[in-house]
């Protein structure tokens, strides 16, 4: 199953089998089992595998996305870079701007839904290049295009490494929700330190990473660079092949209808790899999940027939069989009750998980705060603030991500434990836990306030001006405030009369210098207050968000197994009913006819099971 046609053919077989399963549920009056089949049916039809295109800015990421989609959806410019992540799926042409609820607006209303607006024509380009062209600003552009890649959602991200590191943070936050990342560098130079450490984070956060080197048309020595990069990866123990590509050659090849040039561009190879290794792998996983669910449903459908058949054909064993059924039904009933062992385990597990995750989070925040204070104590806050603020916010964001990773690991472990106790796999619950997206919560965290270094209101105009000038550069308005931080504090020391300050700083003895020391102490206090109030704010907001996420996980696990318990109970009831009715029947002819009927039904179920087994075999 390596090409799209094969995947689609297989998908059709899975869907038709699922249809049979749903028809059977209806026929046997088990509508309660349909919902689960509907869910897997949806993901079989559209697995929507997310592929994040990431890398430093100005590495031709958007050109690459355009080539992959054979359209010009992502704006390409020599200067201005993509500022808003843009996701492109397959479908009717449609663009939507998504704005996450902002910290200030959703005070006290943490569960606000993101706001969506449809975009037309030229607004698409401006919204991608400048989030602030919309009010409230866009955090994500979602597009569907007829030329979108089958089963894949491509996400073009703002490049990392520009002024301030907000973009890197935003990109990292999207990675845990993606199945694959394409890491883009260009042929102008070998990997830098920053690129390699970003790549390592990608590998940690994302199951599958593909390295791509762009602009091989422009740089004569691209083979040397490719070799150097391969060596760098090998020295870090990373075994990834780097794919050289050129969007220019791809475009020109199409224009001149030169298949050799299209091939040379490396884009077809990348498309093949995305299809074979990313989409197909993910499709396989989704198909297997669907087959497992169908298999489970068929088991539940089969049980009453088995019981009835036993009662009809083997009167001697009837009583023993009935007793067994009763016992099973009692067990199912106990699973349904609030005091069931799995319920107790779930409740205990969740409170353990909550206190551990919360402790971990507070610990992290406390350590960062201490680390930041130490940095402030070492230097002059006025001078280092412009570098400090983004560094600090980046560290906080990293820690939040790490804490989130702990949370999802623990929740999955708990789910597995409860599942084992329930003697069930419960695969779908685990998959749904990943839906929590830390970016949503992060968006609610307000700015790192600028310390009140200055009491002079005369600077306010300058600051307002800077804010306007900077607005385009940051993706999350709520986590930005960085350049603002630098602007608000630097002017304070500057206006001191020129000559005296020079003298003071050189001679180191004058009164002005002592004044400066006092000033530095004041700045330190102000900076620490700002750090403190930022970590407090983060702790408060994220604490609330973590609680909500854990509760949601608990609800999801509980609902999942409650439904399973209901299903088991219904199945048991039907089986007992059928078996009891059969036991009362004394007409051998009717019994024989009924057995024939049952055998026919069981034959149908058996045929479906054989079909599942065949498909499953093919998947392996």
């Amino acid at each position: 199953m390596t090409d799209q046609a094969a995947v689609d053919a297989f998908r059709e077989r899975v869907v038709s089998l699922l249809d049979t399963g749903r028809a059977a549920c209806r026929g046997y009056d088990r509508e309660d089992l349909i919902a689960g089949l509907d869910d897997v049916n949806t993901s079989v039809l559209d697995p929507a595998t997310r592929v994040v295109i990431c890398g430093e800015f100005k590495k031709a990421k958007s050109s690459l996305v355009n080539s992959l989609l054979k359209t010009e959806i992502c704006p390409v410019d020599d200067d201005i870079a993509t500022a808003v992540p843009t996701s492109v799926a397959r479908g009717e042409t449609r663009f939507e701007a998504v704005s996450l609820p902002s910290g200030a607006a959703s005070e006290g209303a943490a569960g606000d839904e993101p706001m969506r607006r449809e975009l037309q024509g030229p607004h698409v380009r401006s919204a991608i290049l400048d989030p602030f062209s919309l009010d409230p600003p866009a955090d994500l552009i979602e597009a569907t295009l007829p030329s979108g890649l089958p089963d894949l959602v491509l996400i073009d991200t703002p490049g990392t490494g520009g002024l301030g590191s907000v973009q890197a943070k935003a990109t990292l936050a999207t990675l845990p929700t993606a199945q694959s990342a394409v890491f883009v560098s260009d042929a102008s130079q070998e990997y830098t330190e920053a690129e390699l450490s970003f790549l390592q984070r990608c590998i940690e956060l994302c199951p599958q990473v593909i390295c791509v080197m762009t602009k091989i048309d422009l740089h004569p020595h691209w083979r040397t660079i490719l070799q150097a990069n391969t060596e760098h990866l090998a020295s870090l123990g990373i075994e990834l092949a780097i794919m050289p590509v050129s969007s220019l050659l791809f475009g020109e090849g199409h224009r001149h209808k030169l298949s050799s040039m299209i091939e040379e561009s490396g884009i077809p190879a990348l498309l093949t790899r995305l299809g074979r290794e990313v989409a197909a792998v993910e499709a396989r996983r989704v198909f297997r999940e669907a087959l497992e669910e169908l298999h489970r449903v068929l088991q539940l459908l089969r049980a009453p027939f088995d019981a009835e058949r036993t009662a009809l054909t083997d009167p001697t064993d009837r009583d023993r069989a009935l007793a067994e059924l009763e016992a099973a039904q009692e067990h199912a009933a106990s699973l349904r009750s609030a005091t069931a062992r799995w319920q107790v385990m779930l409740n205990d597990g969740v409170s353990d998980l909550m206190s551990d995750v919360d402790h971990d989070f507070r610990n992290r925040m406390r350590d960062i705060g201490a680390e930041a204070n130490a940095v402030i104590d070492e230097g002059a806050p006025l001078e280092i603030w412009s570098e400090f603020a983004p560094w600090f916010e980046q560290r906080v964001a990293d820690e939040i991500l790490l804490n989130f990773e702990l949370l999802s690991q623990r929740a999955e472990a708990l789910n597995a434990e409860v599942g084992a106790l329930f003697a069930d796999e419960g695969g779908t619950v685990t998959a749904e836990l990943g839906v929590f997206d830390p970016t949503l919560a992060m968006a609610r965290v307000s700015d790192l306030d600028n310390p009140e270094f200055s009491t002079s209101s005369r600077f306010s105009n300058t600051i307002a001006g800077l804010r306007g000038g900077h607005s385009g550069m940051f993706m999350f308005q709520t986590i930005s405030g960085l350049a603002l931080g630098a602007a608000a504090i630097t002017p304070v020391g500057a206006p001191i009369a020129a000559v005296t300050a020079v003298v003071a700083l050189i001679s180191g003895r004058s009164a002005v210098k002592q004044g400066a020391e006092r000033e530095v102490a004041q700045h330190r206090t102000a900076a620490k207050a700002a750090i403190r109030s930022y970590t407090d704010e983060v702790t408060f907001r994220m604490g609330k968000e973590l609680q909500a996420t854990m509760r949601a996980a608990q609800r999801m696990i509980r609902d999942h197994y409650t439904v399973r318990a209901e299903e088991l109970h219904t199945t048991g009831a039907r089986a007992i009913e059928a078996a009891t009715a059969a036991a009362r029947s004394a007409d051998p002819a009717a019994n024989a006819a009924r057995v024939a009927d049952i055998d026919a039904e069981l034959g149908r179920i058996g045929a479906a099971e054989v079909a599942i087994a065949t498909l499953d075999e093919e998947l392996r």
């Binding site: 102008s188 990997y191 422009l218 740089h219 004569p220 050659l249 000559v499 020079v502």
Partner: protein, 496 residues
């Protein structure tokens, strides 16, 4: 007495008073430095094109370049009577090195020295370009060889040391976060904020900004102008200019054979030529050009890159470059290197003495601090304070820095005028007054007096804040200085 003379005299006094102590030796070095050429460091991230730009400025292939990371040691390129190369070791000793000059390429052999033992290399080269300016090549920042990056950081004053360079050409591709870190490190402690008076930004590898298209350099100019106005950059460099260093170097050393080969490619039919120039690999396999051997192709790609090839072939094909001399001239102009030379000649060279004096005074202050309780120190410190307090040139530099911080609340055009008056666009009166270089002496004098009056009134205005008033004082002194120089030299409106 000018600032540089005064600095020289205070340094001489300090040297004599502290002779024999370690501080005395330090000051001796400072004095030598003051009398030597201006030291301009070429800094930037790894692979920004620093060595290439250096070669372009000198006009010879002095600094080795490569597709991979190349410069690992801080290397000084100095004017010399003869060719030579010396390694300055970490131990303080120095050692002569063997070198070779073949095929227009200069190659130094380190012999049995390890890179880690070498503090810096000094290359001597008889050259007019190096007479007034010593150029210093530095390893790139953000390198995968962290030691090399650390050497750069240390050299530019990052490790709490005093900077060894007087001024810096900072090369960047698109502006990157680490660019600002490094630039901040270069700006010394004396001015507690980064100061754009001694730094020029260079948007290097400018042809690649526009992916080597025909209009790539125009596009790069737009990008450079935008970057120069980013507030964090404004605070660090006076301006940003786009340069394609490779093209400039190639233009300076263009060979006749190269011209003939390019002309042969230009003679191909349009479609074949266009496709052959689409990518490096296509150029490697381009058919139908007699005499274009594989080695030639590699050499052309290495020396011109795609943009240079496309531009040269278009120029030859279009008749704009009928000879190799014309092509060299055209490529030089296209490369933008002339802008860098002009800035070096105006911003740095004009300001050179002040910059050197400033570096020397800062270092003297630090040396005196280290000398501790030597009996002469207190007197010398008083002298130093006197020099600094009376040095209007330094006040002007500082005012420029302050203006770039956007720290003074006033209207933009007033601030732009202040920047000009304190010498932001050049130190000649005409430049300061924003008048034509050919302006009459009387006109200059009248304008200077008018500006003096305006700024005096501004300083006295009750609504002017303290920051504006202190800026006004500097501007007023600049105006007064201009007037007195114009009055004392009625014939020639020169710098003062």
């Amino acid at each position: 007495m000018s600032l540089i003379d005064e600095t020289r005299s205070v340094l001489t006094e300090a040297r004599d008073a502290l002779a024999g102590s370690p501080a005395g030796t330090e000051i001796e070095v400072l004095l030598d430095r003051l009398n030597g050429p201006l030291r301009v460091a070429i800094a930037g991230r790894v692979k920004a094109g620093k060595s290439t730009l250096l070669n372009a400025l000198v006009g010879s292939h002095l600094a080795p370049t490569d597709a991979r990371e190349c410069t690992r040691i801080v290397t000084w390129y100095r004017n010399g009577q003869t060719y030579g190369a010396t390694a300055l070791l970490r131990t303080g000793a120095s050692e002569s090195l063997a070198f070779e000059f073949a095929d227009d390429e200069f190659a130094v052999s380190l012999g049995d020295l390890a890179i880690d033992d070498i503090h810096a290399l000094h290359v001597f080269w008889p050259s007019r370009e190096l007479e007034a300016t010593t150029l210093i090549d530095t390893p790139g920042v953000g390198s995968m060889t962290p030691d090399a990056a650390a050497r750069s950081h240390e050299f530019l004053g990052g490790g709490g040391q005093e900077a060894e360079a007087d001024a810096v050409l900072y090369l960047m591709k698109h502006l990157h976060g680490t660019d600002l870190d490094l630039l901040s490190a270069f700006h010394d402690e004396e001015v507690s904020h980064p100061n754009p008076v001694n730094a020029i930004g260079v948007l290097s590898r400018a042809d690649e900004v526009g992916s080597g298209r025909a209009d790539a350099m125009d596009s790069a100019a737009t990008v450079a102008a935008r970057i120069a106005n980013e507030p964090p950059v404004r605070r660090l460099v006076s301006t940003v200019v786009p340069v394609c260093g490779l093209l400039a170097e190639t233009a300076a050393t263009l060979r006749e054979r190269e011209y003939r080969l390019l002309a042969a490619v230009a003679a191909l039919p349009t479609d074949e030529r266009r496709i052959g120039l689409l990518s490096a690999d296509r150029f490697r396999t381009l058919d139908g050009v007699p005499g274009l051997e594989p080695a030639d192709r590699e050499s052309l790609l290495g020396r011109f890159a795609m943009f240079g090839l496309r531009a040269s072939i278009a120029a030859i094909g279009g008749g704009a470059a009928p000879s190799s001399t014309d092509l060299a001239r055209l490529l030089t102009r296209l490369s933008g290197i002339e802008n860098v030379r002009r800035l070096l000649d105006t911003v740095f060279a004009e300001r050179g003495d002040v910059l050197k004096a400033r570096s020397a005074l800062v270092s003297l202050g630090a040396a005196l601090d280290r000398a501790g309780n030597h009996p002469a120190v207190a007197d010398l410190e008083r002298r130093l304070e006197q020099v600094l307090a009376s040095a209007h040139e330094i006040a002007e530099l500082r005012a420029l820095g302050t203006l770039r911080l956007d720290a003074v609340p006033a209207e933009g055009d007033i601030l732009a005028e202040a920047e000009r008056l304190v010498g932001g666009s050049g130190r000649a009166p005409a430049r300061r007054l924003g008048m034509l270089d050919t302006s009459q002496h009387d006109q200059l004098l009248a304008e200077a007096q008018r500006k003096l009056g305006e700024w005096q009134r501004r300083a006295e205005h009750p609504l002017s804040g303290a920051d504006l008033v202190s800026l006004c004082r500097v501007v007023i002194r600049s105006c007064e200085g201009m007037i007195s120089s114009l009055l004392s030299e009625p014939a020639s409106p020169t710098t003062f």
